[in-house]
Amino acid sequence: MSTTAFLTDSTLCIGCKACEVACKEWNHVAEDGLEWSGYSYDNTGAVGASTWRHVKFVEEPPTPGVGGNSGEQASWVFSSDVCKHCEVAGCLEACPTGAIVRTEFGGVFVQPDVCNGCAYCVVACPFGVVAKNKEDGRAFKCTFCYDRQKVGLEPACAKACPTESIKFGEINQLRAEAQERLQALQDRGMQDATFYDPTHTSVQGTHAMFILRGDPRTYNLPPNPEVPTVYLKKGWTSAALAAGLLLGGTLLAFLTDGARDGR
């Protein structure tokens, strides 16, 4: 049983959305309505309850050398977004029912038969991934194709990807591959190629890493995502102080009040 991961290489992505379709077909996820968001060729704008893979279209004015375009047309960078499957996952920590679990492959999985729809995971995710299905009430996100991994298959999106932009494999191997790829890209003159895997914050790295061009913020990837459990200590300290004040204040108020019943 190895710890697995995605490495999504946006320099190879052609924006075909095969990953979105494959994900929907394999996981029986409802369609989102084939409407254009108006932001390049993006449909839904973000991952959501019925969008577990989401291709981002970063469209920019003609920039020779980006996206292999002619320098006359708009330049595009595509990047297929997905649940990050955090090493320390905010949703998993927050879930009060135990519906969200860590699988033997290292992924974060929401058990649909256990989820009770409290939506606390939605506000606990620093990446805005987990979403509540409005009709059903429960929370949904990428399962990391837990069912497929169980029988030794790669996730549907990785299998359908025609350019191997979505790589799937053992996590440390992919991390090493990412460094090699980054070096290769930079050697080829893509000085803005970056690797996104926030190991420096409380998230402690992800099981869905990205190779991007330029600042990760362009792709709505936060520079310093934090697991909300980091706020617990301060919160419970304040709660203990509040409880102490409430208790002490009530005692004091009644004890100093002369007009006691006394019976």
């Binding site: 920590e93 029912t97 009770n116 009430g137 600042d215 792709y219 304040s238 004091l252 108020a253 009644f254």
Partner: protein, 367 residues
């Protein structure tokens, strides 16, 4: 059809012709035309860049809770504080009717709270999911168990108390009533404070940046609501309640100063927009207004003082409810602000999520 060249209308539109003449006059006299021309709907269009994120689409998902949850924060907070007032009042020998009424508030809250949570979850059996595990690292789990324990303890104590009043004291009843009452103190304190940790320990900036304040703020809000309810129930001459109400109101004044006196971007939803307006009205009703009314009642005659305190109580109850609604709405507004999690310094002119006016140089234009 759409490929046909635009043709002139057969009858010239006088208005539009006059407008062309007007433009010509302006150009002749000033050497330029001041107006902006046609602005496409939604322009200037958001871009994907390090300064604008991904087309200014919010990165975080907003809280999904609707009105049940702030209502629960209000009811649960008041019930928790009322239980503490009831139990402590009982131990130190306060007015018996006050002790009983406070317990009734707690008991009512213990019934209404789970009903609100079930309404939020959609199906009653879903609430049982909360009872599958106990997770100390999840404030939602801690809170669900606290509420369950609180409900059991308060119901047992209240029921035993009612039986005692009807059929006279007996040892088993006294045991249940006292044990239940003793348990409501820690559980009530937990219920009145945990909701602050619940929303504080999230990815929502306005909540997690105030995690140190929220439990104190919510406890004060719960206490002032419980005191206000008791005063409205006729305990408007009790001096202990006056002291508690004044203490809570003064704390809320301080909390208001904390919010208004600092200028952090994460506090913006508490100052701007609808969430800001509700925060301010709720804050005024929780802090300065009851403080002033309570201080005035100290110098008023007996009947006048009682009336002023009932007004203070009503203000505090309304303030507590609005405060809880305000914090949820602020959380939703905070999640919409894409700049915060991306650590992009917001343009003070364009909060929340508004595009800069057409024609002014925008950060987005520099791509």
């Amino acid at each position: 059809m759409s490929n046909e060249p635009m043709s002139l209308p057969e009858e010239p539109d006088l208005q539009r012709e006059l407008r062309l003449v007007e433009l010509r006059r302006e150009a002749e006299s000033r050497g330029k035309v001041g107006v902006r021309g046609i602005r496409p709907e939604g322009a200037p269009f958001p871009k994907a860049s390090p300064e604008t994120g991904y087309y200014e689409i919010p990165l975080l998902k907003p809280p999904q809770w609707t009105h049940e949850i702030p209502l629960y924060f209000f009811v649960g907070g008041a019930a928790g504080a009322a239980a503490v007032v009831s139990a402590i009042g009982h131990y130190v020998g306060a007015d018996r009717k006050l002790v009983r009424d406070a317990r009734y508030i707690a008991a009512a809250g213990a019934v209404i709270s789970p009903a609100l949570l079930i309404a939020d979850l959609g199906k009653p059996q879903r609430f049982l999911g909360m009872m599958r595990v106990f997770k100390p690292q999840s404030p939602m789990s801690v809170g669900a168990w606290t509420l369950l324990g609180f409900g059991s303890a308060v119901s047992a104590a209240t029921f035993a108390g009612v039986l005692r009043e009807r059929y006279g004291p007996s040892f088993p009843l006294a045991l249940i009533e006292n044990a239940g009452e003793a348990a409501t103190i820690p559980l009530g304190l937990g219920l009145a404070t945990y909701t602050g940790v619940l929303i504080g320990a999230t990815a929502i900036p306005v909540w997690n940046q105030n995690v140190g304040d929220l439990p104190l703020h919510f406890a004060a809000s719960g206490l002032s609501a419980a005191v206000g309810m008791l005063e409205l129930m006729g305990h408007s001459k009790n001096r202990a309640l006056q002291a508690l109400g004044l203490g809570a109101a003064l704390f809320e004044v301080w909390e208001g100063i904390r919010i208004e006196g600092r200028s952090h971007t994460h506090l913006d939803p508490l100052k701007h927009g609808i969430s800001g307006a509700i925060t301010r009205v709720g804050g005024a009703l929780s802090g300065p207004i009851p403080t002033a009314l309570r201080l005035a009642s100290m110098f008023a005659g007996r009947e006048r003082a009682s009336s002023l305190r009932r007004w203070a109580g009503a203000s505090a109850v309304a303030g507590s409810l609005l405060t809880r609604i305000a914090w949820l709405r602020a959380g939703i507004a905070s999640a919409q602000d894409w700049r915060q999690p991306l650590e992009i310094k917001p343009d003070p002119q364009s909060w929340p999520n508004k595009h800069p006016e057409f024609g002014t140089p925008s950060k987005a234009a520099k791509v």
